[in-house]
Amino acid sequence: MQYIPNILFIIALVGGVGYFTYNIRKVIRNIKLGREVDTSGNTSERVGNLVRIALGQSKMVKRPVSGLLHIIVYVGFIIINIEVLEIIIDGIFGTHRIFSSMGSFYGFLIGSFEILALLVFVSVTIFWIRRNVIKLQRFWKPEMKGWPKNDGNFILYFEMVLMVLFLVMNATDVAFQEMNNGNVLSQYIAGWFSGTSEATLAVIERTAWWLHILGILVFLNYLYFSKHLHIMLAFPNVYFGKVVPKGKFKNLESVTNEVKMMMDPNVDPFAAPAGDAAEAPAKFGASDVMDLNQIQLLNAYTCTECGRCTSECPANITGKKLSPRKIMMDTRDRLEEVGKNIDKNGAFKPDGKQLLDDYITREELWACTTCNACVEACPVSIDPLSIIMDMRQYLVMEQSAAPSELNVAMTNIENNGAPWPYNQMDRLNWKDEK
């Protein structure tokens, strides 16, 4: 009978980690639905970005208030996890504070965890106030209604509760308080329980301990269902982020080959296409998530809906429908829908829906000025612009569905080498004009 807690703990642990792994494998499978993309080379630059932008949070602090608060939560999250290791060992082997034999170092560790726990609690509270009381504009855009808004708050509540449980667990741990080693904050909380019997304290301590670890497991599994995967995906996402100048858009190789053939007078126009070219040519641009590349899909899962992109977007600032954050959210939601379709049918069964029109409207796509403000603003190197560009490419090259004024400009470029209807032979007239 005495092993029942250990067994229950192991079941919870295996179940929690197992279900999370199961879902993460789905994320990986879904990302692999995208087109492959060559990410070779630039390793040192990529590692540099990983260290600076992801680990060093260099882009987070561009906005000092939220940046600093986020660093506290981030550091707290990573460091307090050392305590989780002890909880896991205690839980499996039925020990109690196994690391306490480390003596004063243990006190130092737990003491820092307690301080961090308080700081995290305070930071998260400020985050909540920013969202719900101050109502920062970027958290109240149309795409943040309903689930995304609740999701953001749930995560904050989770973190608050976990921090409180951690402190209460320490405060009601009689042995730990008697040890008087590392209880820098919990000793004061312990004071609140001064009239409580030891038996009751033991019950509260055990309850807080169990709720804390179960809470962590639940939170771990909540990640997949929320916008919060960035705590893991931010690192690969930054590593695979764009390492060429932001103004450099990729050239489509299939088009290059075609144009080269057109310009080569020696090409035999009647020649049969070479072996692999006989297959249906790949679609130009993207109308659905499978047409995007794997990095773009990773981007979508990484987005945590902070809205810094949208608050910098000139189209959004001036009231247009385009919101770069919505582009990422739509891509993720459609990818999830496709993933569920695959889960259900074994392979993707056409559902009569696609990313274009069913999620992202043409009006949004055409409002983009390609100014890269969203790309610059993203603290984790997400590139919403590349998705917009791929979808425009689909609209123009597969559907000939550009806005009519753009068709006029493009026809002009084609006919007279300028977006306006001026004769190319007049290109140097300016030098003689008064």
């Binding site: 189209a315 001036t318 290109r427």
Partner: protein, 263 residues
């Protein structure tokens, strides 16, 4: 400006078996837009002043394809790019300077993979190097004490990380450089990029160029300086929309320098 400017073409150079130091890529706006033509002329005068051996492609120049690519027409873009590259490579062009950040970006970033590898400079970078080499001198006189704000063109700034060259030139003019709240990396677009120049904006509550002009006017600047013919159009329209033509002037950095030199 009574007599016409001396602007040699690559064809003329080639006929004499010579190669200029640098090719001036004029761009569509610089060739055809009335306001942008003034920028081209100002820059050409500065090139003459600095005794730079340059030439243009003239009637052999064609759109780089930037608006086509950013509108999503990759095919038209590459047609334009390859045609231009053939012409440029045919003349053995090595070095290019342009007053258009869109041409600057496209030729510099997107042409190399298609076979067009050149050293390309934005005109503000080129002018900066002329100043540091002592080939060009700038006296601040006319702009002394004037408040000048610089509007970063997206395709010069964020797209290619050049924020300092135009600002250094403005400082040489002894003007008081005042920054907008959104500047450099966080500079806001004028609203013309991504082929927006050639279409009506989507529905919203304001035009981007008016919003950006308001930001510029919030600095109380006398002059909104820029380095892009499209930003020029957008900001000039913005100033008109605010009925502020009397108080605020929109100028290209090259024009300011030429102006200071009484060219």
């Amino acid at each position: 400006m009574s007599e016409s400017l001396k602007v040699p073409t690559m064809a003329e150079y080639a006929a004499q078996g010579k190669q200029p130091e640098v090719l001036l890529w004029v761009g569509c706006a610089g060739s055809f837009d009335d306001r942008a033509k003034k920028i081209t002329k100002a820059f050409v005068k500065l090139l003459h002043q600095a005794k730079i051996d340059f030439a243009v492609l003239g009637t052999e120049e064609s759109c780089t394809g930037d608006p086509a690519k950013r509108a999503g027409n990759e095919f038209l873009f590459q047609m334009q790019a390859m045609t231009n590259i053939e012409v440029l490579n045919g003349y053995g062009v090595q070095k290019i300077v342009t007053a258009c950040p869109h041409c600057f970006n496209t030729i510099g970033n997107e042409y190399p993979e298609l076979g067009g590898k050149y050293e390309i400079m934005h005109h503000t970078q080129f002018l900066k190097s002329l100043l540091s080499e002592g080939k060009l001198k700038v006296e601040g006189g006319k702009f002394k004490g004037k408040k000048i704000t610089f509007h970063d063109p997206c395709y010069l700034g964020r797209a290619n990380n050049e924020y300092e060259a135009p600002r250094e030139l403005i400082e040489k003019l002894e003007g008081e450089l005042v920054e907008m709240r959104r500047n450099k990396k966080r500079g806001m677009c004028c609203g013309a990029g991504g082929a927006q120049m050639f279409k009506e904006p989507e529905d919203g509550n304001q035009d981007v160029n008016v919003a950006r002009t308001e930001q510029a006017m919030d600095t109380n600047a006398n002059i909104i300086a820029t380095g892009c013919p499209f930003c020029m159009v957008m900001m000039t329209d913005g100033v008109k929309a605010k009925n502020a033509e009397e108080n605020v002037e929109v100028m290209d950095v090259a024009e300011m320098i030429a102006n200071a030199e009484d060219l």
